[in-house]
Amino acid sequence: MTTADTQPRRTSPRVVLVHTATFRQARQLVPVLIPVAAVVGLDDGLLTVVVMAVVITALSLAGAVLSWWRFGYADGPTAVVVTRGLLARSVRTVPNDRIRGVEVETPPLHRLLGLVRVRIDAAAGSVGTNEEELVVDGVPRAEGDRLRARLLSRRPAGVPAPDGEPGGGTDGGAPPVEEELSRFQPRWLLYAPLVGSYLVVPLAAIGTLFRLVQELPDAVVPDFAGPEPSPPVLVAALVAAVPLLALTAVVGAAVVNWRYRLVRRGGSLVAVRGLLTRRHTELEVDRIRGGTLSEGLGMRWVRAARVNALVTGLGQANRRGQLLPLGPRAEALRLLGRLVEYPGPLTGHPPAALRRRLVRALAAGLLVTAAGVWAAAVLGWWWVPVAGVVLSVLGVPMGIGRFHALGHGAGPRSFSVRSGWLVREQAVLQRRAVVGWQVQQSVFQRRAGLATVVACVGAGSGGYAAVDMAAAEVPVFTAAASSGTWAGTLAPH
């Protein structure tokens, strides 16, 4: 592959193997094949399954070859051009100065064949979608590194990827400017069972398994029809499921965050992680405007937290901006302090905000109770009012918890807002991050002397709200939390 820089390049032919094995192109055919199989009326036999497997593999191979053949990319002096498409050719050109980040990832099969996948993020704003991403799938490792170094041209070219392989032999040759900010401790994995997102993964896997079993022809599925399980057996199964769930959460967290490392190298933060798929993300320090500290209900209990960086123009910010996937709160605060100066203690919100939180938390429960009384009287459904009462009782701690999460504060160079109960999120932002203020006041808020203030930011979710702060504090806070004098426009005469 010794072509000039402007000449279109091809990905490695070895990627055809990867795509055949993972059915990358053939996956789109599955919804077509199932009805076809149904119409043709294949009998449920082992032969059917074998034939289907062979046909799908052949289609997969054909699809992989075609898309490899029709795919080309070129990193010219001013723009990256990616050409693809079987019948309709699509040519996408992304100017180099629009490139926000380059991610090099190595899924297990790619690693086996010495390939990497390069994702080029060219988001124009904070409303990033997959549309704004270029993927060059299946180039040799060295070519991937060359591409990354070249596209992020602010850095010197030829910098090796840090800790590229799990063997980690490149540490000695790393440039001296590199500074390690954080390293994942294996004992942090013990937090995983208390984190919602890691618990969801095994549940989703079970769901997929069930769907797969349902889609297979009946003859292949062994017959489980035994006697109906008795209640004690069900209870025992549930009790056994809890540690199993916890274990899978830990394993899931380990797979995703294996050997996580965050280093600062020159003008960028580099995060590397993953056991099977090695993922390598670079964020430009100049674009970082702050960070969020998220603590779920279970995480607060063991004082764990996660940290995300808020980076302007970063697509898929939730995944890419992650700086500490899971760790102790103290470590999280230390890391957040490196991103942005902590503005000091937060101010709580007035008691009227507590009343509003309680009313909202109780409303659903009381409504169910009221409907339940009617249902119990007319239909004899006694469990509906009981559920309503339970919901209402649970609403009280939830309302109080939501109230205590509320807070805002402004320091000399930064400000912070916090809210949420199930997942409490505190955003700490530089004052220069604010591109606008939005103040909202409903009829009820007006009567209670409250208002919600949203700091509009060109990073993360686009806006961070201080919910139900005292109306009189709004002009003071907005002036203190934005750079320059423009926010003074809000001040009452």
Binding site: Q438, A471, A487
Partner: protein
């Protein structure tokens, strides 16, 4: 109403064009006609036994109430609430009728300025100026200005944003 003691921030100085009231009334009439058609269809085509008579009256009451609010009340309340202002440093609007929203965007952070004219707006000679920033939530919309005013405001803002633009993110 505008000099409310519980208002969190000051109100922008300028009202919208008075034609905005006519536009909102027209919108209300169209909406009310839609509901009249729907409810009439329900009353005519659902047989007598299919719908209890209190529900029929509730439907009629809903249509009348909706028409009164959206034609007779909401346009005037909205007109009294909605205000806008362009200061030396920022664009500032107040919108809403029950829930009020004040939005302030500094001129230095403006990325694009759009002028749009809907079908009804063209009928009344009105236009909307939308000021966009890097944040998906930091968009200011000045609804229903006279078309020539809107164009002048947009041109002025775009020119000034070019002059004072800092890092625009």
């Amino acid at each position: 109403m505008t000099a409310d003691a519980t208002a969190p921030v000051r109100d922008p100085a300028w009202p919208l064009s008075r034609s905005a009231i006519n536009l909102w009334v027209t919108e209300g009439v169209i909406g009310a006609l839609f509901w009249v058609v729907v409810v009439t269809a329900v009353l005519v085509f659902v047989p007598d036994g299919g719908l209890p008579s209190p529900l029929r009256w509730a439907l009629v009451a809903f249509v009348v109430l909706e028409a009164v609010v959206t034609i007779g009340i909401r346009p005037w309340v909205r007109y009294r609430v909605h205000r806008w202002e362009v200061t030396g440093e920022a664009v500032y609007t107040l919108t809403g009728w029950l829930t009020r929203t004040w939005t302030l965007v500094p001129i230095s952070r403006i990325q694009t300025v759009d002028v749009t004219r809907g079908v009804l707006q063209q009928l009344f000679g009105l236009a909307t100026v939308a000021v966009l920033t890097a944040s998906s939530q930091g968009t200011v919309r000045v609804l229903h200005l006279e078309a020539d005013v809107a164009q002048r405001v947009a041109d002025d803002l775009a020119r000034r944003a070019e002059l004072v633009r800092d890092e625009a993110t």
